[in-house]
Symmetry: C2
Subunit: 293 residues, 2 copies
């Protein structure tokens, strides 16, 4: 099974746990709808690739950890799309959860997915309990308050939004959790992987901001200029698309340098370079990054 | 410090962790507002009293566990009050969170409190990791899908609502988590405490249903007949207030019998009898319950 298939299987296993006659049918359907079919599954892939690069990872543990992370990401998307936030009618080319199932079900789907993410993590680490507290702490700190997704999303309700703090919490934090959880799944220290995860996340956010302004070459149907519409700060609006592209390329370069020493470092660098070059065609990272420890 | 003071202190410690310059000010204020001042703190008190009855509980661990449970309860109240659910203008005699801070902040406060509950549990059990997975599993199963609070709340969006399943998930589950987590905090098996926790919760729900129909003798200002207004099933509406009172008294009696053998069993029975008699003046439990193992 390749990485993508393993992640889908682990997500299916996690979501299947919610099937039971005691589950309200509409909630059960909405929960599956929110997770499948997925998007690019970038965060769980990142988590898995770090676990593999660290070497000696328990594959099943790493995949379940990656699935927990994706469930949390799905939860944030469902709540983000609600009328009082982005008021998005579509997500992943189909009606958003609240459009398809109603607002109250969408709120509960988000709640249930957050809980399922923690449950999935607890199950994953049940046989290595000494790593469980660290994994939980990392996931909660990067999703809650003061520096996780919930905090990031809440900045949008403030009059004065600090762009860097906002992007770090809203996007960077879950990428930092992805690299950190990958390391923990392989028995390594999450701290060594925090900064490269955050930099990868900030690079993705920069690319997202640019696409929101100039359009997405891969998804022409995706609505643009949503940040301006919702009065959200946007890097490409603030500094112009060209400077934002330089910034994104710089973040990618920094993230590659920040990958700590590990058995699969060179392979991981090659993989990320390839991924970012497909997302940001102008990105040219120096081969030197491969040699930096 | 008595139980009430210990619980408030642990809640304050947990909420203080969210204070930081990176926390959006409105979210931070709303989060504190959702937790303080509290209601009767029934669930954390139940959790603590079970840990004490089991004997040998680490007091600090038990109190932090109780706080995690209350954070989860506060989260459910914030989301329950939203316009798309109960549309409640007030909670605990002040404007509900969404009325005071807006709907988007209220949704994020609920999310953040769910996450903080898991974080608090992880911190509590950090030094006894072998119990952490069981504690997490119990909290997640009793708050998520298919048999936790989120599932219970979601039944309200269905056309056909099975009253018993709905009440077990919406109310009973968190009481079962309270007794079970108290046992785990004392190093005991949660399974032995599941049924009495569920019965206590179902008794509370029955009392709540009766008060929704006939009024609350202790809180005359509390609006009544909300279940009929929201077309939610209600035990006292379905069987009449008098039969519902008999049912509640029967559940109380059953819950006392279901308390497993433990050093503080007699004391715990006395405590619960006293509490239920104050809530349901007609309740007369037999002294025999004290002798049953």
């Amino acid at each position: 099974m390749n990485a993508g298939e393993s992640i889908e299987r682990a997500l299916k296993d996690a979501v299947t746990k919610t099937h039971a006659p005691t589950c309200p049918p509409k909630l059960g359907s909405a929960l599956r709808y929110a997770v499948f079919p997925g998007g690019a599954r970038i965060r769980p892939r990142l988590c898995l690739s770090v676990a593999q690069a660290c070497g000696g990872a328990d594959e099943k543990l790493a995949v379940s950890t990656a699935a927990a992370l994706e469930l949390m990401h799905c939860a944030s998307l469902v709540h983000d799309d609600l009328p009082c936030f982005d008021d998005a009618d579509t997500r992943r080319d189909k009606p958003s959860v609240h459009k398809a199932f109603g607002e109250s079900t969408a709120i509960l789907v988000g709640d249930a997915l957050i809980i399922l993410a923690f449950e999935t993590l607890a199950e994953a680490f049940a046989h290595t309990p000494q790593r469980l507290a660290a994994a939980l702490r990392l996931l909660s700190q990067n999703t809650g308050v003061p520096m996780g997704i919930a905090a990031g999303q809440a900045w949008e309700a403030e009059d004065d939004i600090p762009l860097d703090t906002y992007h770090r919490a809203k996007t960077g934090a879950l990428f930092a959790a992805a690299t950190g959880l990958g390391a923990i799944a392989a028995g390594r220290d999450a701290k060594d992987w925090k900064s490269c995860g955050m930099l990868v996340g900030m690079a993705f956010q920069a690319i997202d901001d640019i696409r929101d302004v100039v359009g997405d070459p891969y998804r022409a149907s995706k609505p643009i200029q949503q940040d301006a519409r919702h009065e959200r700060p946007n890097l490409a609006l603030r500094m112009g698309p060209e400077a934002a592209e330089h910034n994104a390329a710089d973040l990618v370069e920094q993230s590659l340098h920040a990958i700590p020493a590990c058995p699969g470092r060179a392979h991981l660098i090659g993989k990320w370079q390839q991924q970012f070059q497909s997302l940001l065609p102008g990105t040219q990272t120096t081969p030197a990054a491969v040699q930096v420890a």
